[in-house]
Amino acid sequence: MKNATKRKTQPAATFEEEYRSGLSEYALRGGEAALGRAYALGRRAISEKMSLIELASLHHQALHRMLADARGALRNRELLTAGCDFLAETLSPYEMAHRGVQDAIAALRQLNETLEEEIKRIAYAVHDEAGQLLVAVHLALADLARELPEHQKAEVGRIEKLLNQVEKQLRRYSHELRPTVLDDLGWVPAIRLLAEGVSKRANLRIQVKTTIAGRLAGPLEIALYRIVQEALTNAARHAKASQVRIQIERKNRLLCCTIEDDGVGFDAREVQSDGKRRGLGLIGMQERLSAIGGTLSIKSAPGRGTKLLIQLATENSNANSHRAR
């Protein structure tokens, strides 16, 4: 740990020196070469993972020192103007990176919507269209059976049984992709059904307690459903939990959904920063929520289970007056 800190501060110190020397070169002589240095420093700061706040404070300190040392060679106002130009130049690579991240977020949200539509379409095709084809096969088989001698009818019966299994399986796939109940009855019944399915499959006791009824806007329902789905997957797959409690309630305008398991737990900060599948899963939940204006708080510790609290402000009857304002 000590070494890691040392390695991290070492280049930062030289960065600071470089920054100070570039800034003073620009303040004294001006020129594009010094601004070119500022741009290169900005790029270097990014690759050294320096935050904007760190950079700003480093700039402030450098400028402060120069102001103290200036002794009339430079007027304060000139120094401040030069400092401003130099900092802007250092920030320009951050501007590029910032625009890149903005584009990426917008693209991800768009992609998510497209995927959700695509999933809906596939789920429908698997359920309804494939289902209709199976009905046609059943009818054709029945026709065939009528013309067959008695001893071969048993054979057809076996095929029909297999077809029934196919149908059941298809319905399950379709349901797992996107339950029709989510669109037809809303996210709470969909979560109940999901809990039932996971409970059977993963041998997990899942309790769903809720006092709320009623629907939310489509994108909100989908996001909440997907988050609870991810949470249950985590509880079953990683947490090795034996029990999960889901509680959904409304506190004034706030919709609160708690998902609590008695599994192995984890160090929330460590998992979120390791960039692996599980950390990404949590970040994914958080991002999904922030896309719809909700928040997620994660409480967990090794050996002490995991508690997720999802909060989302929604309009209810009290809030309508607010909206009308």
Partner: protein, 127 residues
């Protein structure tokens, strides 16, 4: 102008910034234009060693803008998609390099063939 050294890059930045101000861009936009020039020059120096950057004022109906063309006779980009892909690997951040230039400017065109060099044309219009 020829891009072959750090000094050439400084000259290109300086001319680009001066032209941007002349066209009427704000100092902030001029900074972004200088940054785009640096990124393009950086690309030339690291992949082709030398090349050229030309700068021109452009008009379209009532708009004023700036055109930057960066070209080289280097090995060319074998995989343009790779070059245009946002990555963390070399720069430590998403959004630097050619994708970054695309976002700083309003129009972006790239042509490259293996063995025949690379040409990147970018335009930025005054708002």
């Amino acid at each position: 102008m020829v891009i072959n050294s750090d000094q050439d890059i400084v000259t290109a930045r300086q001319r680009g910034r001066a032209l941007a101000i002349e066209v009427g861009f704000s100092t902030g936009d001029a900074t972004l234009i200088a940054t785009a020039i640096s990124e393009l020059a950086r690309n030339i120096v690291s992949y082709a060693r030398k090349g050229e950057i030309s700068l021109k004022q452009v008009h379209a109906s009532s708009r004023q803008g700036i055109l930057i063309v960066a070209s080289d006779d280097g090995p060319g980009i074998r995989d343009i998609r790779q070059a245009m892909r946002d990555g963390f690997s070399t720069s430590g951040s998403l959004g630097l390099g050619l994708p970054g230039v695309r976002r700083l400017m309003d129009e972006f065109e790239i042509a490259s063939e293996p063995g025949r060099g690379t040409t990147v044309k970018v335009k930025k219009w005054k708002q």
